[in-house]
Symmetry: C2
Subunit: 402 residues, 2 copies
């Protein structure tokens, strides 16, 4: 299939380009290298070195025997988006080009407004361009499990049957996002539902859990093909950040009580699931939602799993509770469905500790890069709009009792 | 109270400034005169002449004996918004400064992206500015009943008690907006809920029905104090457009079968309700929703009411069905609550035909202005993204049978 990837230089995009090419798909993509700029803005680096796009593309050609079609560009430049899609005529468009960080969106008005403009108008431009030049393509849109928040009921996949005052309807499940970033994904969800309904576009909206991992097998051992791996407070998601902390002996930074529960999945599972969506498109006019994660864990459970993986690697891992810079429930019900991908054949990777061991092995050679940035490992971007570095509130982690 | 009105030169804003001032409130406001520009862009005019802001402000001072504090500015200019609010220190902020037209937002990518940027980022800037300089103020935010769409169940006021798989929660009621404009209002709703939750702001989110009317009593007979009254396909809402058509003998343009049901309210009721919200603020941190309308009617019922008012005024009124440029249900269940405003003392104006008679009397002197623009009375902006003028699909209106 011909697959277009927006955000192809990113953590997921660069991995997906290789995964799909290895399976025989023809891949084209675009990026504006904003992720590189944001991490630099925060004074951080990727723990795994990231090479220039030219070096990446050369290594890609050497490994896979074909070129990746790449153009630098901005989704906010509508003529660029429309022109590229018109020329390439993709069968699937995978949209991974959003600003993906909750804390980054909460820094101040400038960052909140940028996040809205980049994410919501960028996604809107893809919808309009699809309508104009490739209305039969399938949009695989990256949303987030964070769109749902933490309701006190089960979370279905996008829609639910409501019985209300004696009447029934099938309606979008209510969203309760927890940051401006998460809000933009909810806005995209509503816009995408609408575009499918009025224009007959087709889309799979992926409510993805938190991804972790340093590699997929398709990358082999060429460092130019390696994906990035961030550990700063904005782009370093929980397990990735914990593993980077573990390899330099920094305590794992649990926010608050650590009872926050989320869905997680290894990078390799994310690739597997996105590919299942791409290779099994919905009908024209259909909008469907996949909740995409391997399993749900509390943040504290994951910290203890990283500690276990660290023990096996001979690392001494401490876990500390820091005052929570976010505004979120630290103990709550959490029970999302994820049947749609299982029905399509998703085989979850259940050995999370083994995946963490691979991560530690990949990260240990880069201890010096992480150590050099150790001052940014404790968060200071707070949900109340201020900046203050979190303090340790409990000297040792205790297993959380709900 | 000190009340700040964003969009003070508009249909609602200019009326509200007078209504509140007559009740003794101190009013300041801003506008960028975009409504004037949009209507001109569409080749139309306001049926009631609109004077320059200088003439309006002079007449305002003459009638009410005090000046309106006015500054031209753009909500997208964050420093302007923050500076004005910091200086004025409002107790209430009424946000009427959004682009309010569904068809305008559907014209093309440029108009859809503009609507998102203007509405969503403008509203976001108000929230950030409140957090920074007036966190105790009460945001009265104009949403729309159109956020809910037309579900097959009753529509509560913003939230509902859900029982799902044996567990319960109180959640935002699902939104199913029907245009990019309506989508932006849904996005605002989610952003406002979030700002109240994480920053402790307080807001009343008004899900308003379709407003009609040429005047409120406070305006007297000075034409400089008159509000605008649009009749084009974008800014001319149903009853306003019908009344303008009636006074020049143009058939009333029913879209499709005409069984579309919506909540409606006279301009004077809108002022009454907004003032009830302003004078009865929620608690700090509280986000509440008011569904704001006098009663629900089908579009066809309203056309027949305009015909009845026209008969009394000696006008001969025809009603024709045109093919529907929108994508919407033309026969559906519609039963929204509107108890919150009643509980605060709202007294609905129930004689809709009498209000229409006032409108016809106000509009008859301006027949020539409307006649001059009669070629724009039939819509051509279609929900599929194309332009084609609607055709008559039924020569005479027949009362709709659901």
């Amino acid at each position: 299939m011909k697959v277009f990837i927006a955000g192809i230089d990113g953590y997921l995009g660069w991995s997906l380009a290789q995964y799909l090419t290895a399976r025989g798909h023809e891949v084209a993509g675009t990026d504006k290298f904003l992720r590189r700029a944001w991490v630099e803005e925060l004074g951080s680096v990727s723990a795994l070195p990231v090479f220039s796009i030219e070096e990446r593309l050369t290594a890609f050609r050497a490994r896979f025997g074909k070129s990746l079609i790449f153009r630098e560009g901005d989704l906010l430049d509508y003529e660029f988006v429309r022109g590229f899609l018109e020329e390439f005529q993709p069968e699937a468009i995978v949209h991974l080009a959003e600003m993906p960080s909750a804390p980054y969106s909460m820094i101040d008005q400038v960052h909140a407004a940028f996040t809205h403009s980049n994410n919501v108008i960028g996604s809107l431009n893809i919808l309009w361009a699809m309508r104009e030049v490739c209305p039969d393509a399938h949009l695989v849109k990256l949303g987030t499990m964070g769109e749902y928040g933490t309701p006190n009921v089960d979370i279905p996949e996008g829609f639910f049957e409501l019985e209300y005052r004696g009447r029934k309807d099938r309606l979008p499940f209510p969203r309760q996002p927890g940051s401006f970033y998460h809000l933009t994904k909810v806005h995209d969800t509503h816009n995408t539902i609408f575009a499918c309904r009025v224009w007959g576009l087709r889309s799979t909206d992926i409510m993805q859990g938190v991804v972790f991992g340093t590699r997929i097998d398709e990358m082999g051992d060429d460092p130019h093909l390696s994906t990035r791996l961030d550990f700063d407070q904005c782009f370093g998601t929980a397990i990735n950040r914990f593993c980077c902390q573990a390899v330099i002996g920094h305590p794992l930074t649990l926010y608050g009580r650590g009872g926050q529960t989320r869905g997680f999945l290894p990078l390799r599972d994310s690739m597997q699931c996105l590919t299942l969506a791409i290779e099994n498109p919905p009908k024209p006019g259909e909008y469907r939602v996949f909740n995409q994660f391997e399993e749900c864990y509390t943040i504290e459970e994951l910290a203890f799993k990283v500690k276990e993986a660290g023990d096996r690697a001979g690392l001494s891992v401490d876990i500390l509770h820091y005052d929570n810079p976010r505004k979120e429930l630290e103990a709550h019900y959490y029970h999302p469905d994820r049947q749609n991908l299982i029905d399509l054949g998703y085989k979850p990777t259940h050995d999370v500790v083994a995946e963490m061991q691979i991560m530690l092995r990949d990260l240990i050679p880069h201890q010096a890069r992480i150590m050099h940035k150790r001052e940014i490992l404790v968060p200071d971007i707070r949900w109340d709009g201020t900046r203050r570095r979190s303090l340790v509130i409990q000297q040792t982690a205790e297993t959380f009792k709900p």
